[in-house]
């Protein structure tokens, strides 16, 4: 027991260090390279720790107007996706669940697209898009959940098939919508491929409170998710209000996924990979996985975003494509691993 607790603390320290490194790299690397020391001293200055360092005004503008909001947005989106993935995996009792895989992200994207095309993007200062994304995510989550459930269990095959089928329907609907979209088409491509470019501080202001409040609320569910892993009947015997927990988890996972998608489009595999990787290191306890996801999710997406804008600079790769290229093989590895299951996950 002490060994597991020690391992958890050590992992959290490592993850925190990695997150700081990712932020500094994310802010420092780009068309104009900025040394890590400079980045850190600028941060320290903004936090009123030191006097203004001797750096050109242009560097200050690049750091605080261009790169930092993007890095922070990547962090918040990564956190939302990772926590949503954790919630969905716990709910479905299946490590294959992820907001993108089960189609929730597509639902959110479709909701957002419809609102944008209807000219409602400005409603409630951007909250209209987030609201529509949330509604779309919730509908898809509910439909997939009902489709994948056979008797008391949610099976991996049905889950994947239901998710694929629903995602296919979503993309069909999106194609139809796009054919009526005229000059908005580039705008819509962005939603489907995912990206964080030119969002600025405004997007951050919308999504950050949702993700942080949602993550805090997830703290109330982690214990019940542990018990759900024993099966619904056993969870009920141990005092879990099973149906209520499932509804809340579904709603919260959809909220987090929708919040992320509403500013970044569809970014797959972060929600799938993050909890799973952490499970291999610190075990399956959701009480530990949640804080670990809060640190690891942002790190992964900040680094993926860094790759998307530096690999073929000055052009930018779609962020969703980068996570898919990294995540796809990982997903296949998981599928293969399941047959001789050992380690973090058993199905």
């Amino acid at each position: 027991m002490r060994r597991a607790a020690w391992r958890f603390r050590a992992t959290m320290v490592v993850l925190a260090v990695l997150l700081v490194v990712a932020v500094v790299l994310g802010v420092g690397l780009g068309a104009v390279g900025i040394a890590p020391g400079t980045v850190l001293s600028l941060f320290a200055w903004k936090l009123h720790l030191i006097a203004r360092p001797d750096v050109p005004k242009s560097v200050e503008i690049i750091v605080f107007q261009l790169r930092l909001p993007r890095v922070l947005l990547a962090g918040v989106v990564g956190m939302g996706l990772a926590v949503a993935g954790l919630l969905f995996q716990g709910l479905f009792r299946n490590p294959m669940a992820d907001p993108a895989v089960i189609g929730v992200s597509s639902g959110a994207a479709l909701g957002a697209i419809v609102v944008i095309l209807a000219g409602g993007a400005a409603i409630l200062g951007g909250l209209g898009v987030a609201g529509a994304a949330f509604a779309g995510a919730l509908v898809v989550a509910f439909v997939v959940y009902r489709l994948a459930r056979i008797g008391p269990a949610v099976h991996v095959v049905t889950l994947l098939l239901a998710g694929i089928a629903v995602a296919a329907v979503m993309s069909g609907v999106m194609s139809v919508v796009m054919s009526f979209s005229g000059e908005q088409i580039r705008n819509i491509y962005f939603w489907i491929l995912g990206g964080l470019s030119s969002r600025g501080w405004a997007a951050l202001q919308v999504v950050t409170p949702i993700v942080f409040v949602g993550t805090a609320a997830a703290g109330f569910l982690v214990n019940d998710l542990n018990l759900l892993a024993l099966g619904e009947e056993r969870a009920a015997q141990l005092g879990v209000e099973v149906e209520r927990t499932k509804r809340r988890t579904l709603a919260l996972g959809s909220l987090l996924a929708a919040a992320a998608v509403s500013v970044s489009g569809v970014i797959g595999f972060v929600g799938l990979m993050t909890p799973h990787l952490l499970r291999l290191v610190i075990g399956a306890d959701h009480r530990r996985l949640l804080p670990a996801c809060v640190l690891a999710g942002p790190t992964i997406l900040i680094l993926a975003d860094l790759a998307s804008r530096t690999l073929i600079a000055p052009e930018e790769l779609p962020l969703g494509a980068v996570t898919a290229v990294l995540g796809g093989p990982f997903f296949l590895y998981l599928l293969r691993r399941q047959r001789g299951a050992r380690g973090g996950v058993l199905v």
């Binding site: 569910l221 019940d224 058993l346």
Partner: protein, 419 residues
């Protein structure tokens, strides 16, 4: 406040089922603290449904459940989980939890959603793991444990719940003998030491009889027998409820009933049973009686001496028999009755029993039966010379029987009778 009368588990005239179908049709069971009540009955009799009703998993359509005087269906799941703990058949978490993590989950009814494990939770978990002998497995992932170890972890999880009522749902299925006994010993000790009220579903009647203070037999959703093991586990119950013939007798040491099942020999049961009469003594006739009865013969026996093993087997099998008191000679009246049985039998089987002055008359009766044309088969596993305690008379009668009868080497060879 819980009063003494309310303590434990009370299931009161419960009607419950799935969909429109009632599985339980008015079942009442009460378990008081410090008592183990076994639930037996064939598949589909409603045992598991009763477990689910008692553990707040299936709301009864009629009737009520009381745990320590409270209605679990009127309580939140967490509070009910503090009153009743269930030991499921097995537990296979979908994620890789360690044994300790699984046992600590048993503490969750006592914890808040955000709170970590308090000192009390750790000590309860540790105590439960020590009680079931799995403390050394604390850091091992569940999927690496053997079936027996995993089952004891599951028991520890339920014990850590520290509920006054414990419900065991066939806790011993798929366990080997040693783990079965270990697990039941743990449950018995906890019942006595911590005064928990325990309701257990048992498939194995012998385990139920050996473990429980009382047994409740269910059949088609109703209680058909209830009482001490000796009152419930009987031949009649096995015949009526399970539809099997079995031998039930008290264990010599514990006095609790022991069930021995006799699977019928397929293909040898004949239409219209033939009659076989067995001459035995000192237990040598018992295998013949069993074998012939299993083959479908209507078996009679005699003359037997009371309290001889053969006599006990004949009486347990409820065979028509002629008996005399222990160590007495065979009186004329008994001899006459026995000869009548032999003459009307299709075959007389004479076992390789020891013959002395007290029972040599049996051989004379067999010779007489053989003379009147009855088929006689001799079992000759032991040579006559070694079991003649009459000074030659038995050997003389035996050779006379040999001259007209058939000889087999062991009771199993009696199968030739139906060939």
């Amino acid at each position: 406040m819980t009063t003494a009368a309310d303590a434990g588990l009370i299931v009161d005239r419960v009607v419950a089922g799935y969909g429109g179908r009632d599985v339980l049709r008015g079942v009442s069971v009460a378990v008081t603290p410090g008592e183990i009540v076994g639930l037996v009955g064939p598949n589909g009799s409603g045992k598991t449904t009763l477990v689910r009703v008692a553990s707040r998993a299936l709301r009864p359509r009629e009737g009520g459940v009381r745990l320590q005087g409270e209605d679990p269906y009127g309580l939140p799941a967490r509070r009910a989980a503090r009153l009743v703990a269930v030991v499921p058949q097995d537990l296979a978490p979908v994620f890789s939890f360690t044994a300790l993590e699984v046992v600590l989950m048993g503490r969750s009814p006592h914890r808040s959603a955000w709170g970590g494990a308090a000192a009390e939770d750790w000590s309860s978990a540790r105590a439960a793991m020590e009680a079931t002998g799995v403390h050394h497995l604390a850091d091992r992932p569940m999927e690496e444990l053997s079936g027996g170890e995993r089952r004891r972890v599951v028991l520890a999880q339920a014990l850590a719940q520290q509920a006054p009522v414990l419900v065991l749902d066939e806790p011993t299925t798929h366990l080997d003998v040693r783990h079965v006994l270990d697990l039941l010993a743990i449950v018995r000790r906890l019942t006595a030491d911590e005064s928990r009220a325990v309701l257990g579903v048992f498939h194995d009647l012998n385990l139920a009889a050996a473990t429980c203070d009382r047994i409740v037999a269910l059949h088609e959703g109703r209680v058909v027998a209830e009482g001490g093991p000796g009152e419930v586990v009987t031949r009649e119950l096995l015949r009526e409820v399970y539809g099997v013939e079995a031998d039930v007798h008290p264990n010599a040491v514990t006095g609790r009933p022991v069930v021995a099942l006799h699977p019928p020999l397929v293909g040898t049961v004949r239409a219209g049973p033939a009659r076989a009469h067995v001459v035995g003594g000192a237990g040598r006739g018992a295998p013949c009686m069993r074998f012939l009865a299993d083959m479908g013969f209507e078996v009679t026996a005699g003359v037997l001496h009371a309290s001889d093993t053969d006599e006990e087997v004949a009486s347990r099998r409820n065979l028509l028999r002629v008996s005399v008191p222990p160590f007495s000679d065979i009186d004329d009246r008994s001899a006459e009755e026995c000869l009548a049985l032999m003459r009307s039998a299709d075959v007389v089987v004479v076992a390789d029993a020891p013959f002395g002055p007290g029972n040599v008359a049996n051989l004379r009766l067999a010779v007489e039966a053989a003379r009147s044309g009855v088929r006689v088969v001799l079992v000759e596993g032991i040579p006559m010379a070694e079991r003649d305690f009459t000074g030659g008379e038995a050997s003389r009668l035996w050779s006379e029987l040999r001259s007209s009868g058939e000889i087999v080497g062991s009771p199993d060879e009696l199968v030739s009778l139906v060939g």
